[in-house]
Symmetry: C2
Subunit: 497 residues, 2 copies
C-alpha cells in the first residue's frame, strides 16, 4: 500500500475520532448531567490523546516525506491534502501527547466552571481555570514557536494568514470608523425609534417552529441536521451528514433564538455544502474560521436583517406569534437593526458588533503576551468596555463571562469574527454583480440562487485554497474593510429614511 | 508495573471507550438525524474494534495468567475482578476483530432499519437486516463454542448461569400457570372493571414533571442522570455519574411514559448504587441482566402498581392532570393493574407479561438453532401469539417489530426479563421480612429504607457474586417461580375484592 493511501486512511480514522469528540462536546453543552462533567473530561482527554498519537507519530512523517518526494502536480487533490496534512502534522508533533491530554481535560473542566461562574455571575469561580488555560496556551505557543509574539502562534491555529501586528493595524483603522458609525446609528435610532416588540410571551415551541421554517427556507437540511438548546449557540458537525446547530430561548424576545439560528444556519449551510466524498480529508473541510464566519454573518445580517427579509417573513411570523399583528414588517425590521449600546456580543447590532471584538482582541493578546494578569480581566473588561461604548458593565455575567471561547482554550479566535464580517460584505457585493436577479429572488424568499452561488464559489472547495486566496479568486481583490464599512453606512442611512 | 496494575489500567481504558460507545448509542436513539446513521455505524464499528483490540490481545492474556499464578485470596477484590476479566477475555479472543467491527456496523444499521420498518409497519424493510443479525449471531456462537446448542452460547453472554434446556423446562412449567392466572385476571377485570382514564390530553410537559417527581422520590439522582424521549425506553450509563433513562410519551395516556420511567428508574437506581470507586472494573459493574431486571420490575410493579402507591400519589397526579379529579386512587390503581389481552410487551400487565417472553424465547431459540427462517417470523409470531393470548396481531408494528432487541444483536436477552420477575418477587418477600415497618414506610412514600436495603444487599456488590449466588445469599433459597406466582395470585385476588 502506498504512502498516499495510508495517509488517506489515517486521515479518515482521525475524522472518526474527531467526530466522536465533537459529539462528546455537543452533549456536554446540551444534555450532560452536572456530575457527569469529570468523566466527560476523562473521555475527551483520552480521545485527544488517541487522535494525537494517531497523527503525531513518526510513520505519518515518513509517509508525508515520501509523498512530497513523489511530487503530486500542483492543484491536484493530493497536493492540496498533502499541504494541509503537513501543516497539521508539523503542529501536532511539536506538542507532547500528555500535554494534549492535559489541555483537553483542562478545557472540559473549564467549560463546566465557566457555566457555573456565569450562572452566579462570579468571575472568581472561573478565574483559576482561566489562569490554567492561559498558561497552557502560552506553553502551546512555546511548543509551536513564533516569529514575533506568542499570540501569533495561537492565531496561526485559527487563521493562518493573520498576524497580531496586521490585526492591530486593521483594528486601529477600523475602530474610529466603527465608533463614528455607531454614534451616527445610535443617534438615528433615537430620532427614528424602533418600537419594542409587542408583549411576551413568545412561546419556545412557536419560536422553534418559526426558526426551523426559516432555516429550511435558507436551505438547511434537517434530515442531516438538527437544532438544540444551549447556553452559548454554536454549530458542530458530527459526521458527513450530521450537522447540529444550537441556540438559546428567551420567551420575552424571539429575536434571541431567531438570530442565533440564522447565524448558525449560515455555518451549517457551509458544512452541509462541503463535498461529502472528501469527508475526513482537508478537501472536505471548511477552509478557515474567517470564511466560516463570513457565511454565518452573511445569512444572519445581509439576508436576515434586510428589509426584503422582513417584508416577506412578517406575515409568517404573525402566524407563530399572533401578538405581532399589532406591529408591522417595517417595525420589526427597525427593531432588528436598531443601533444601540449593548452588553452582549451575540446580541449586538451589526454596527457596534465589531467593537466587542476589539475589546476581546485587546484582552487576549495581552493575556497571552503577559501584559495582563488573569485576576485583572474583569476590571480591564469593564473599564475598556466603557471607553469603547460608553456603557457600564453591571456584572461579570454580562461582561467578561459572556463568551465560552476562552473556556474552550480558544485564544486568537475572536478576530476571525471581524474578518468574517469583512468577507461577508465583500461576498455580498460580488454576489450582487454575479447573480442576475438576486434582489428579486431575495424579495421572494427564494434563497436557492444565492446558496448555489456560495456552494460553487465557497463551499465545494474545502481547503483547496487558503481563505485569502479564495477571497481574491471570488471577489478579485484583497480582503479589506471597504465593503463592510459601506454596508454599515448604507444600513445607518436606511434607518434614517 | 505489575500485571494487576496493568489490568486495572486497561480495564479503565476499556471503560472509557465503552462509555463513549454508550453515548453514541444513546444519541442514536434520541437525537441522531436520519442521514447521520451511516457515519454513526462507522464510528461505533471503529470503537468496537478499538475496544476489542485493547482487550483481546495477547499481552492481556499474559497479565491474566501472571495474576492467576500469583493466586489472589478467594473473595478478594482482585480475585473477583480476575474471574470476570478472564471470562470476558476468553470470550473476546475467540472473535476476530474484523468480525466484531462488522457486527457493530450491522447492528447500527439494523437499528435504523428497524425504526423505519416499525414506522411504516412493514417487516420486509427489516427482514434482510434480521437475516444478517441472525447469521452473525450464529457465527458468534460458533466462534465461542457451546455444549448443547448455539442458543446456549448466546445465553451465556447475557445470563451465564442459564441454559436453553433449563429455560425450556421452566417456561413449560410457568406457561400453564400464567395462562390460568391470565384467564382468572381477565375474568376478574371484566367483573370488576377498571374505568378508563379521564379524557386526554395529558400534556407531555406535565407527564415529564410528574415522572420526574416520582423518580426523584424513589431516589434517582438527577444531578447524575436525566430522562429523554425514545421509541423504545431504556437505561444507559455513560460514566460513573451519568445515568440516562428514556421513555416515550402518549398524550392520550400518561401511563405509557409513567410506567416506562418507573421501570427505567429501577435500572437507574441500580447503576447509581454501584460503587463508583470500582467504576471501570467488574466490581463496579451490575452483576447480570437478570438482577438488573429484578430491580426495574420491583420498582415498576411491586412498588409502582401497589395500592399504597396510588393512595399516596393520586393527589399529586391530580395537580399535574386536573382531569383526574373525576377519578380516584382506587380507579387509577385498578386501571394500572387491569389484566387484559395486550399486543405490546412493554405495556402488558404484570400477569400476562411473561407470556410475551415465552413467545420471544420460542422464536429466537428457533432462529438461532435454524428451526425457523427469518421470512417466517411474522407468521410464526402472529399464530403463536393468538394461541398464547387469544389475540389477533393486526400488523407488524404491533407484532414482531415492537422490540428493538434483535436489532441490537441481542439474542438470548429476553429470558432475563422473566428471570428478573422471579427475582423481584423473591427480593420483595425477603425485604418484607428484613425491613421493620416496610409497609408503613411505603404507605408514606418513604422509599429510603427499601432503597438502602437494595443498596446494601444488591447494588454495592457489583459482580462480586454471580446472580444466582447473590440471590441465594439474600433470600436463602434458589431462584424459583413460587414467589412470583404467589405475587400474581395475590394481585388477581385483590382485583376481585
Amino acid at each position: 500500500m502506498n504512502a498516499m493511501t495510508r495517509l488517506l486512511e489515517r486521515s479518515k480514522e482521525l475524522a472518526l475520532l474527531n467526530s466522536i469528540s465533537a459529539l462528546l462536546h455537543w452533549d456536554q453543552e446540551t444534555f450532560l448531567p452536572r456530575k457527569g462533567a469529570a468523566w466527560r473530561a476523562e473521555q475527551l482527554a483520552h480521545l485527544a490523546g488517541l487522535s494525537h498519537r494517531l497523527w503525531g507519530i513518526e510513520e505519518v512523517g515518513v509517509w508525508l516525506s515520501e509523498c512530497e518526494e513523489f511530487g503530486y502536480p500542483e492543484g491536484s487533490d493530493e497536493a492540496v491534502n498533502l499541504r494541509e496534512w503537513r501543516r497539521a502534522y508539523d503542529r501536532a508533533v511539536k506538542l507532547p501527547t500528555e500535554f494534549v491530554e492535559e489541555c483537553a481535560k483542562t478545557e472540559a473542566l473549564s467549560q463546566h466552571a465557566w457555566r457555573e461562574a456565569r450562572a452566579i455571575s462570579d468571575f472568581r469561580v472561573f478565574e483559576p481555570h482561566l489562569a490554567k488555560l492561559v498558561s497552557e496556551a502560552r506553553r502551546k505557543a512555546d511548543f509551536w514557536g513564533y516569529r514575533k509574539s506568542r499570540y501569533d502562534a495561537l492565531l496561526d491555529a485559527h487563521e493562518p494568514e493573520a498576524t497580531e501586528e496586521d490585526l492591530g493595524v486593521m483594528f486601529e483603522r477600523l475602530a474610529p470608523e466603527l465608533s463614528r458609525l455607531a454614534a451616527e446609528g445610535i443617534s438615528t435610532t433615537s430620532t427614528h425609534p424602533a418600537p419594542p416588540l409587542p408583549p411576551a410571551p413568545y412561546p419556545v415551541k412557536a419560536q422553534q417552529a418559526f426558526n426551523r421554517e426559516v432555516a429550511a427556507a435558507f436551505g438547511f437540511e434537517f434530515d442531516a441536521g438538527r437544532i438544540d438548546s444551549t447556553t452559548h449557540p454554536f454549530c458542530t458537525r458530527l459526521g458527513p451528514a450530521d450537522c447540529r446547530l444550537t441556540t438559546r430561548y428567551d420567551e420575552g424576545d424571539f429575536f434571541c433564538s431567531f438570530y442565533g439560528v440564522l447565524h448558525e444556519t449560515g455555518h451549517g449551510l457551509f458544512e452541509q455544502g462541503l463535498p461529502p466524498e472528501h469527508y475526513g480529508t482537508p478537501l472536505g473541510q471548511a477552509v478557515s474560521l474567517t470564511v466560516h464566519e463570513s457565511q454565518s454573518r452573511l445569512w444572519e445580517n445581509h439576508i436576515g436583517r434586510s428589509r426584503a427579509f422582513w417584508e416577506f417573513w412578517f406575515p409568517r411570523a404573525v402566524e407563530y406569534f399572533p401578538q405581532l399583528r399589532s406591529s408591522s414588517a417595517e417595525a420589526i425590521w427597525r427593531r432588528a437593526n436598531r443601533v444601540e449600546r449593548s452588553l452582549i456580543r451575540v446580541e449586538a447590532d451589526v454596527v457596534t458588533y465589531d467593537l466587542h471584538i476589539v475589546l476581546r482582541f485587546e484582552i487576549e493578546r495581552r493575556l497571552i503576551n503577559g501584559q495582563l494578569n488573569v485576576p485583572d480581566v474583569p476590571a480591564y473588561w469593564n473599564e475598556r468596555f466603557k471607553s469603547l461604548t460608553g456603557e457600564k458593565v453591571p456584572n461579570d455575567r454580562l461582561g467578561c463571562l459572556q463568551d465560552i471561547h476562552w473556556a474552550l482554550g480558544a485564544f486568537g479566535y475572536f478576530p476571525t469574527y471581524t474578518l468574517g464580517n469583512l468577507y461577508a460584505a465583500q461576498l455580498m457585493e460580488t454576489a450582487g454583480r454575479d447573480i442576475p436577479g438576486l434582489d428579486t429572488a431575495l424579495t421572494a424568499a427564494n434563497y436557492a440562487p444565492l446558496l448555489e452561488w456560495l456552494r460553487q464559489r465557497v463551499h465545494r472547495h474545502g481547503m483547496r485554497f487558503t481563505g485569502g486566496e479564495l477571497m481574491r479568486r471570488i471577489t478579485g481583490s484583497e480582503p479589506q474593510e471597504a465593503a463592510h464599512l459601506a454596508y454599515l453606512q448604507r444600513k445607518v442611512r436606511s434607518l434614517g429614511e
